[in-house]
């Protein structure tokens, strides 16, 4: 009787295992350091065991010549090796991994902390640093400590206007910024069946904000249908009775729109407690909330109106952008005065394309609001897409309509 992590890693919680990696990905930032470190290890060829990916998303396109020169080196290497390569505008690494690439039961590592995101497919997916990644390029495997698992049991269904992001902020608030350290979060219960893949990706994405190694959903009919639509045939994973180190329960119907206030993701308040807080910028996007369903929800709210504050929308991938063009969602956003950025991470990490000035306040759908992260002296509040879009129209934090 095993948790999903124990099943995939093939050992009991607390044991150390060496495990072949199925997929390993780096972004433009961590990829440069990975390449440098891999060369220092004396390697001459890449391991052919895992599928290896280099994905430009963090500062893409480059913000200055220094970055461009570093990216040039990594691009040349990626194109000259047996690596999968996605250049600027392709999208965020975690999103590309979620568009029919990562499959249930796989071991997936990314050189980015939010590589826990594809755990939504029932994979064991986690973030690494550059040197661990370099060793995987060299050897194709790595060591893991099989994590204890925390159950997040969900019942009921979310009310209209309330999003998976609100639930994510809620569980991060309950666990705290280190409540999940060294553990895996397993989302269980009947309530999971009401959550589409996009919601599951959002929920797994925030798991690292509790310190967790990964967040996971068991592959079910929702997973099977989603992946079938992307040409992948997979089977559901059946949960077994197992031992959790801690169990949390949430009735989805009780979740209300929330905002995380600076500078901690685990410090949340109901949106209505912050209503009227004046904003300088709204940012809708990232690996948390930049998927098509997110853009469509934002468009539905702003369509036919004008945003009252500068509003940056960054699709998570080229496929998301293309779908938003096809369905008219993009036209609705642009018509409402939103600015559209290149698919990728956008200003989330404070490097380009929408950083904040001293004293400015941003309401963002991202996953981190650390001090100075989006610009020195700027403050970041985190919310759902519905809260962000509703607030963009008002120019101040405003609660979305809840059914």
């Amino acid at each position: 009787m095993s948790t999903l992590s124990e099943r995939i890693l093939g050992a009991a919680a607390g044991e150390y295992v060496d495990r072949k990696v199925d997929r390993a990905y780096v972004c433009d930032g961590t990829g440069m350091l990975t390449l440098e470190t891999w060369k220092q290890m004396g390697a001459e060829r890449l391991s052919d065991l895992p599928q290896l990916y280099v994905i430009f998303d963090h500062i893409a396109p480059a913000n200055n010549s220094t970055t461009a020169t570093l990216q040039h080196e990594l691009r040349e290497f990626a194109c000259g090796s047996f690596l999968h390569f996605s250049d600027i505008g392709g999208g965020i690494c975690h999103q590309l991994m979620s568009e029919g690439v990562v499959l249930p039961g796989e071991v997936v590592v990314g050189a980015d902390s939010h590589s826990c995101t594809p755990g939504a497919f029932g994979a064991f997916a986690t973030g690494f640093g550059a040197t661990d990644m370099a060793a995987i390029w060299l050897n194709g495997e790595t060591w893991f400590r099989v994590p204890d698992s925390i159950s997040i049991y969900l019942s009921g269904s979310l009310r209209g206007g309330v999003e998976a992001k609100d639930l994510a902020l809620s569980y991060v608030s309950t666990l705290g910024m280190d409540g999940g350290t060294y553990c895996a979060l397993e989302f269980t219960g009947d309530g999971t069946r009401t959550l589409p893949m996009d919601d599951r990706l959002t929920l797994c994405n925030l798991s690292v904000e509790t310190g967790a190694k990964t967040g996971m959903f068991y592959a079910d009919d929702v997973t099977v249908r989603y992946l079938a639509g992307l040409g992948q045939k997979v089977s559901p994973q059946v949960p077994e009775p197992c031992t959790y180190s801690r169990e949390l329960e949430f009735d989805l119907a009780d979740i209300v729109p929330l905002v995380a206030i600076p500078d901690r993701v685990d410090t949340v308040k109901p949106v209505q407690d912050l209503a009227g807080l004046s904003l300088d910028q709204v940012f809708i996007g990232t690996c948390t909330n930049g998927r098509y369903s997110d853009l469509a929800r934002a468009a539905k709210i702003v369509k036919g109106n004008k945003v009252a504050v500068r509003t940056i929308v960054v699709p998570a991938s080229r496929a998301v952008l293309a779908e938003a063009i096809r369905t008219g969602v993009l036209a609705d956003l642009v018509g409402a005065g939103c600015t559209i950025g290149t698919p990728g991470c956008g200003p989330c990490l404070g490097a380009h394309m929408g950083v904040l000035g001293e004293g400015e306040i941003c309401l963002s759908t991202a996953n981190r609001n650390f001090k100075n992260r989006m610009g020195v002296g700027g403050e970041i509040y985190l919310s759902s897409v519905a809260t962000a879009a509703t607030s963009a129209l008002a120019g101040e934090i405003t609660e979305p309509e809840v059914d």
Binding site: L33, G42, G127, A130, T131, D132, R264, L349, N372
Partner: protein
């Protein structure tokens, strides 16, 4: 492994954005990371990291996986980081670049001499010894080699 340094006391939940901000990451010049380490926490800290032991609160190194955070501390001359708990990616990164990350609870007095002996399993400060949580055998091997690069160079 043994070592010592003067304590720099930091609070809980120090994130890697605070250790080295995203705006300084795009370079191969480690000196830039060293000169801007902890800039958003206290700009004066960068100049006095050499020969120190950081004694922090829980969950040190949370957030971004940026390995530059661990490299910046190592290259700034930090001898070790001691905290009751670490964020797991930083923990692996630190050991992988040869920076001892020591899980241990002790109260910190700024500037006090702190000694540690990983093999013997203790940290000493203010005349008292505190037990540490031992590293896994693999992590001990990696740290003993001076980091994962040296480890792999000697294992090939």
């Amino acid at each position: 492994m043994q070592g010592a340094g003067h304590a720099v006391c930091l609070g809980p939940d120090i994130d890697t954005d605070v250790i080295i901000a995203g705006r300084y990451l795009r370079t191969k010049d480690h000196g830039i990371w060293v000169s801007h380490v902890f800039e958003d926490l206290d700009p004066a800290l960068a100049g006095r990291m050499s020969g120190t032991v950081i004694v922090a609160g829980k969950n040190f190194g949370c957030g971004s996986s940026r390995e530059q955070a661990a490299i910046a501390l190592r290259d700034a001359g930090v001898t070790a980081v001691i905290a009751p708990s670490f964020a797991r990616i930083f923990f692996r990164n630190a050991i992988n670049v040869g920076l001892p990350a020591i899980e241990c609870s002790l109260s910190c007095i700024e500037g006090e001499n702190v000694r540690f002996d990983l093999a013997a399993g203790w940290v000493e400060a203010g005349g008292s010894r505190y037990p540490i949580r031992p590293l896994s055998p693999r992590m001990q091997e990696i740290l003993a080699a001076g980091g994962l690069v040296s480890y792999w160079r000697s294992h090939r």
